[in-house]
């Protein structure tokens, strides 16, 4: 069957209405069109597309279930990748960056740990490091993909992994630094915790960027 542009648009609109994510839409649309193009009969009706979806995809419910499974699977694999990249920063040669950062931190800590300027800069540095993944997510989801009709299935996984650092920092803040902090610690220990947060925010940022560049770019098309 040769489909004209109006018929293709009709199929596209239908597939759009039964899928939640761009990747699923592309896959189902391509499959349905490929199947209908092989059909022997000439007369087109949308029920033919519905039939392909029912027989080849197991129906609409099955498509939604599969989207949910893929979404969860991607979240799991991105999280594993992020953790692995974080661990990789402790291997040679990436560990050299960690060591230089650690030396810098120790130098400042034992030198002028209580200097207000250094403490403020460390807090700002930590915040920037934790915000960059989030900004990357916002850029990808709302600026780069603004013309896309559907969101990417990877956005979910990206959002939660991007928020991981900020969520952890918020917990640490409420636990140790807030006015009514749950744990009362001495100023020297608080500075040490802050340096540790700075150190790990750097690890998180580097790991996130590596994960984003190596895997996400391929999956987020």
């Amino acid at each position: 069957m040769i489909l004209n542009e109006i018929q293709k648009q009709e199929i596209a609109d239908y597939v759009k209405s039964v899928t939640r994510y761009r990747e699923t839409y592309n896959e189902v649309y391509d499959h349905v069109l490929s199947a209908l193009e092989q059909e022997a009969q000439d007369s087109f009706h949308l029920s033919l597309a519905e039939e392909v979806i029912n027989t080849d995809f197991g129906g609409l419910k099955q498509i939604l279930e599969e989207e949910e499974n893929t979404r969860q699977g991607l979240y799991g694999s991105f999280s594993r990748m992020l953790k692995q990249e974080m661990l990789n920063t402790f291997r040679f040669p990436a560990v050299l960056h960690n060591l230089s950062l650690l030396s810098l931190g120790l130098m400042f800590y034992f030198g002028e740990a209580n200097s207000e300027a250094i403490v403020s800069m460390t807090i700002i540095g930590t915040l920037i490091a934790l915000l960059i993944p989030l900004l990357l997510f916002v850029y990808k989801s709302y600026i780069r993909d603004r013309r896309q009709a559907k969101p990417s299935i990877s956005n979910y996984a990206l959002r939660y992994n991007a928020l991981f650092g900020l969520n952890t920092a918020t917990c640490v803040f409420y636990l140790c630094f807030a006015w009514d902090a749950m744990i009362a610690l001495e100023p020297g220990i608080l500075v040490a915790i802050m340096w540790t947060a700075y150190f790990f925010s750097s690890i998180f940022l580097r790991a996130f960027m590596k994960m984003y560049n190596s895997a996400l770019k391929l999956k987020l098309r």
Binding site: E23, N26, E27, Y29, D30, H31, L33, S34, A35, Q38, T55, D56, F57, G58, G59, Q62, I63, E66, N69, T70, G73, L74, G76, S77, L218, K219, R221
Partner: protein, 113 residues
């Protein structure tokens, strides 16, 4: 004769890995048609079995994907990763051993070497 698809359960990933190993880069609909052609219409990948299996292989890192614009629409291709190539060989070995046992169990005349 159409074969009961339940008989293929558990071997779908082996079938997919083997197909990708033999034919390289393939897309979803192409895989269904290839299976249909090889089995002379005896086995149809229906009822949503194909894509969940492909996505599972992708999540396991055995299959890699790429997208291309074909006839004005985005087409997703699947191909074996380096881990997938090893897995395909192992799965085929497993399948051969299974078929051999099945032949003995059901007292079938050997048709496969």
């Amino acid at each position: 004769m159409s074969i009961n698809s339940d008989l293929f359960k558990g071997t779908l990933s082996t079938i997919l890995l083997n197909l990708l190993e033999q034919h390289g880069k393939m897309y979803g609909y192409e895989i269904t048609q290839k299976v249909k052609a090889i089995t002379d219409g005896g086995f149809n990948l229906k009822e949503g079995a194909l894509y969940p299996a492909l996505h599972k292989l992708e999540a396991e890192g055995l299959v890699e994907t790429s997208s291309e614009m074909v006839d004005g629409r985005m087409r997703k291709y699947y191909e074996l990763s380096s881990d997938g190539q090893t897995a395909a060989l192992n799965k085929m070995e497993e399948a051969r051993a299974f078929i051999k046992s099945l032949q003995l169990l059901l007292n079938l005349k050997p048709a496969l070497q």
